[in-house]
Symmetry: D2
Subunit: 122 residues, 4 copies
């Protein structure tokens, strides 16, 4: 990782961290509760697409902002480097789902993955 990227993510984490500490909320933001909050927000995002809805622009941005907020919050509480976590997971998934095999296969995506754990499938 070059310093440029590190700075970009550090800046966003700093905004989240300040927002929480300025309100004296750190004591509530235990990792278990932050994981719950992230899941709740993901449900709210999903609700924008429920039945035959199309999300409005502002609602969509609000929910994605919320999810990024709690994802950065998790990375602060558990001291995880999100960028490195993403890169490592992509590496695992490249092995699990080799592009040539997946692409060249006649099997449907749904079949190909049958019986697979698909955490982070991509």
């Amino acid at each position: 990782m070059d310093s440029k990227d590190e700075n970009a993510l550090a800046e966003l984490k700093g905004l989240v961290s300040d927002f929480i500490s300025e309100r004296d909320w750190d004591r509530y933001h235990r990792p278990k509760d932050v994981a719950m909050a992230l899941s709740i927000e993901a449900g709210e995002l999903m609700e924008l697409y429920l039945w035959d809805r199309s999300p409005g622009r502002e609602d969509l941005e609000d929910e994605l902002g919320d999810i990024l907020f709690f994802l950065l919050d998790m990375s602060i509480r558990e001291d995880v480097d999100l960028k490195e976590a993403l890169k490592r997971k992509l590496e695992k998934n490249r092995v699990k789902y080799p592009a040539d095999l997946v692409r060249g296969s006649d099997l449907k995506y749904t079949k190909y993955r049958e019986g697979e754990d698909d955490g982070g499938q991509g």
Copy 2:
């Protein structure tokens, strides 16, 4: 946003975008399905904290990597600038939960927010 940050996020989006297109998976990644995937992964993260568990390091990084993957995927499908979305949401929440009021209040956090929608609470 300065160009430095834009580059950092653009790089991560590029990794996600390439991973999906190399497998010919774009057709599956409709926004509604990506929102579902994000919610499913958030559930898997939460499971690491269920009952009295403590997450292992690798499991934690895997799940956070998955969530970042689908969050970037959402931002690609819906063309949302995540950094701007976060900043705008923080601005809204600064108005909704003024630091002075929240901090100085004798009210419990749980009471303060009673009756509030807390999307993105912070």
Copy 3:
């Protein structure tokens, strides 16, 4: 509620209650954790439909069994009569979404509900 129904639900609650206490798991099943478990299981159900998948029969029954398990568990921990809760919620939703209005409306379902909280929409 007549005694017949009460017996049916009481029987299922008894099965759940016994399963947990036989394993000495009551101490883990705090309402907050049971609510998390319910949400995690709902995510697993949803995963059966992700992308273009069609759930297998056994997977589907397993997930629905899990969700009913934790829903009954919640009703035990919080002493809620599920049948009465459903009936009251239906009554609220009949007022909120009058059949004549919803049915006769030219508005799309998605429009009709705009700006509505749709807990339990039906």
Copy 4:
């Protein structure tokens, strides 16, 4: 299953089925969307316990009513006998987590289940 129980569950399914068809909403209630709705409602239940909150009685009953609504809706759409699904899942979990072994073990619950898939753990 004796006829008594079947009647009780059949009655509840009938209430849900009528509510939906009276509003001409069957076309929206595809299984994939109902699974999403169930997950969204589970998130709303969970939100009642987020941070240090204690749910109010009416909110709790509303959310549990919503979840039962969509669970019954799922069982209608996919023609699943919920009671049988629960009983079969309990049978599987009795084999997976034998009461004697779980109870007699010095291992913490969290350790005991390490590496386990815990769908429906109980």
